[in-house]
Symmetry: C2
Subunit: 212 residues, 2 copies
């Protein structure tokens, strides 16, 4: 599979490296290729390009840009490079302008996932992986042998099925479909308690399991 | 212990019945005593009164009113009946005006718990139990033998310690102190994913466990 990963922070690096490890042909898109020099020396099988280059390369696209810059990054990626493709949206609408912990710049009656879907109506947006830290996203079995949940939200059943397969290949055992993309409001708002749990638990290497 | 429970819905009934079962002297406060006639016949050891009556009765107060009416209910309870006491705030800022599922009328950079604390600065507000359904609040061991978390938020360490003891008496095994009352934003925003999980899981009888 040819994958384009937008964003070169911790999440973009983790997703790119894991996809490459699984044998996929990955291009990571960044505004600043120089910042990836050291990382690239350890990941020479991964191509480095612009946002537009990575979006053109990928049959499937991962949005791992920071939330405040996601819509601009996707515009730079180019609608024509995105249309018809599955966009795995991992971004969080974090707003650091009110101090720490961050608040959300969109929430409650809308979400960043929905904003992206409205801005790019012919892209098949699937929100997922936005409820755990980067390392857990791609190696879920490093925590409790994978006995915890990841969530997916999206309007396109076929796109969600494709994303479920990718999540399974990462090692996810419990993938819970919450419904259409309005349910991204819920997983994005969950970041508020995730940040507090991070503080209370003392590590980002955790996730939640649903107990019945 | 003398407890005053404000609110006669499912949560107020569950909290009152459980406290009485544990031997406490409980008065439930309501705007409409008649609505409790049938329930009261099965719980004759529980006194029924007004919000002010229940607040005056209690050494500790539980706010189990619906969120949209909580500030008004507490004003009716009377500041002088509340001052200096621990107020266990279980309310949720649910806004049904945008349809289902409900959104929140305060969130992100403020919370209902904080609004209550600001309105009643001499009350010792502890937010807790607002992340599970009423039955799980008071009988946590009915799910997975109690192997899941409840959260507490508040500015007063002594008040939180008192509430921890009550939660333990209900059967809670894992009580996680998230910090000061600003952390109530996180647990109140969690209701968004709780509502979606309710839909996806098919029952309200669930909770989350933190897996590390």
């Amino acid at each position: 599979m040819k994958a384009g990963v937008l964003g070169s922070g911790m999440v973009g690096q983790a997703i790119s490296a894991r996809l490459a490890e699984l044998g996929h042909d990955v291009m990571i898109g960044t505004r600043d290729p120089n910042k990836l020099n050291e990382w690239h020396s350890a990941h020479q099988d991964i191509k480095i390009g612009s946002f537009a280059g990575a979006a053109a390369h990928g049959e499937i696209i991962f949005n791992a840009t920071n939330g405040a810059g996601s819509l601009e990054a996707l515009r730079m990626a180019g609608e024509s490079n995105l249309n018809g493709k599955v966009l795995v949206d991992i971004s969080e609408p974090l707003d650091f302008s009110n101090g720490m912990p961050p608040s959300l710049f969109v929430s409650n009656t809308d979400s960043l996932g929905e904003q992206i879907q409205r801005a790019f109506p012919n892209v098949r947006v699937v929100k997922t992986l936005n409820t755990i830290t980067a390392n857990v996203m791609v190696y879920p079995q490093r925590i409790a042998n994978g006995d915890h949940q990841v969530f997916i939200s999206g309007n396109d059943a076929g796109a969600k099925a494709q994303v479920v397969d990718i999540l399974k290949s990462f090692g996810w055992l419990h993938i819970l479909d919450l419904g259409d993309l309005t349910t991204a409001r819920a997983t994005e708002m969950y970041i508020a308690i995730w940040l507090r749990l991070w503080g209370a638990v003392g590590t980002g290497m955790f996730n939640i399991k649903i107990m019945k």
